[in-house]
Amino acid sequence: MNHLLRELGNWIDVRVGYSETLLPMLRHPIPRAADGPMGWWYVFGSASLTFLLIQILTGIGLSLVYVPAANEAYESLVYLDYEHPFGWFLRALHYYAGSGMVVMLLAHMTQVFLHGAYKYPRELTWMVGVVLLLCTLGMFFSGQILRWDPDAYWGLAVAGSMAGRVPVIGPWVVHALLGSEIIGAAALSRFFALHVFVIPGALLTFLVLHLWLVLRCGISAPPAADRPVDPATYEAEYHEELRQGVPFLGDAMLRDLFFSAAAVIVVVAIAAVVGPKGPTGPPDPTLGGANPRPEWPFLWLFALLALSPPAAETFIMLVFPVVVIGILFLVPVVSNRGHRAPSRRPVAVLAVIVIYTTLGALTYLGVTAPWSPEMRAWTSAAIPTDVVERSSPLELQGSLVFQYKNCRNCHALEGVGGRRGPDLTTVGTRLTRDQLIDQVSNGTPGGGNMPAYGKQMSPAEMTVLADFLVSLRPSGQPPAKVWSSSPTTRP
């Protein structure tokens, strides 16, 4: 049997020539230091690849059941979740392995950046890697649309509105995105084609290029503080280093395999415990109650957009992402020589810390989204009893106006309610009665964050509301006063 197999292998090898091409590739030497403890820094790229394989496997599996048509996509997802054997698991795994792929890509990029592995001669490897990151994020966004629920529908609406802001060709871009006058079947089919044909095709093509570049340029050695990169001498030094190298195929691969296996086990466990994500409901735009959130890799951009002044919005939507991608892309052009060791590159280390702190803070804000009103707070969040237990009848009436006029949707009392405007639990200590009436009647000057309620309530309602707001003070604290300094009293 063994003999027969070897014969078959030889027969194929004579014609294909893998022993001359593929085997040397797999056995390519890597620097000895990368086979030591430092080798654990090198596992994130192969883990991304492992997750990609899981995505291909589960994606093909899901495509056997999922119906990419607007009138049946939701039903097929519900069927996958509740009826098809292991359908729920494949959906969950597809989501969490995709998330894992993004995490591993970010870890891989961060490692490459911190170790200066993008420097000569690996500049193009980095640039192709940036394209792979974009492809992966594109898969994430298009995948969210295929989960044909209200979030997908309103996600398309937001994407369409953003595209509609493009000067001159805006309406054309919107149509190219949605494929129709309304958000529906054509948009779903477009994103299905993107998710299943276009982006995977690009991703696999660039992945082949990326891996080819890795093989051709070789795995970079762990950085040494006393060995900066000089393009003139690097090739010779690296060649010298590889003389003591170890073949990749063999023990050097063990770390990658072990880490990939551990990562897969973790993701499978998460998928099995947490289960599939959505769909949250049928994508009927007349159902209301929508509050679309982008998937987690985009939450930081969502938060940045929500926190930026309206004048900068269109810039942040349309130009800022291009600038960020451009900067990432051009990293090796800015510096492709010199020190690689993080200890000699404080700015690079600082940049990583600042970037991740910023992304983390923005993502946290994106999760909590304090800028979104609580649309049901006016009926669902009762006035705390300790706020009104010693109120006069007029103040009590004012508290009803406060609820009834939907103030609570944006203003919290004792932390409950919307957080778009300030918490008003102690507003009586901050603003006088006149200031409160002015604020409520006229809103934020220039049409800022608060609408003008002057025409939205009667004088009687305004009076009792002001009474209530002035009474919002901790017991014993006097109401706010204004220091009036009339010019006539001055010497």
């Binding site: 006058e181 958000i183 529906g184 009927d284 006029k405």
Partner: protein, 182 residues
């Protein structure tokens, strides 16, 4: 298996026939590429010619003066396979008799002018509020506060035989609104 690299023949003046054939091949290639790509790009990006559809929203008398109602209908711009996504809502407000004793209506798309999220009508405060970024509009559709750069999108409407009809709305965006005036 070593392959000898075949050197191109050393500098020789090309016969005119070969030069002509090179040009011809380039031209034929360009024509073939254009013949394939023009229809394909049109297929991807060109908009289908749609006739104007009017949707009946109900008898004029069914809309009380000075009140805002939500009306949902199946958008005739739909495809049969659009499913529930073709369900469309609009806000209808009967403003009262206008010129020539004809009723005047305000018909708004539900989409916020900021990023397209669906606004909700709050009759208690007479405001439309958007759940996404807190855009607020007055009952007449004007922007009250928040990030929207303009008021709500107005739909075209007409009254035929005592019935209020609205022109089937496409998805409105800043540069592609639903009416001519705003």
């Amino acid at each position: 298996m070593d392959h000898e690299i075949i050197q191109p023949p050393t500098e020789q003046p090309h016969p005119p026939r070969r030069v002509f054939f090179r040009w011809l091949t380039s031209a034929a290639g360009a024509v073939a590429a254009a013949l394939v790509s023009v229809p394909f790009v049109g297929y991807l990006f060109q908009q289908r010619k749609q006739s104007v559809h009017w949707v009946a929203l109900g008898k004029v008398a069914e809309f009380p003066f000075g009140e805002t109602r939500t009306v949902a209908f199946d958008n005739p711009l739909r495809q049969p396979w659009d499913g529930v996504t073709a369900h469309t809502g609009v806000f209808v407000r009967r403003e009262g008799p206008g010129e020539g004793a004809v009723d005047r209506f305000l018909v708004f798309a539900v989409n916020c002018a900021h990023l397209g999220c669906p606004v909700s009508w709050f009759p208690q405060s007479g405001l439309f509020m958007c759940p996404c970024h807190g855009g607020v509009y007055y009952a007449n559709g004007q922007r009250a506060s928040g990030p929207p750069p303009r008021g709500l999108f107005h739909c075209e409407w007409r009254v035929v035989d005592g019935n209020l009809e609205v022109q089937a709305p496409h998805y409105p965006t800043l540069h592609d609104t639903l009416d001519q005036t705003t």
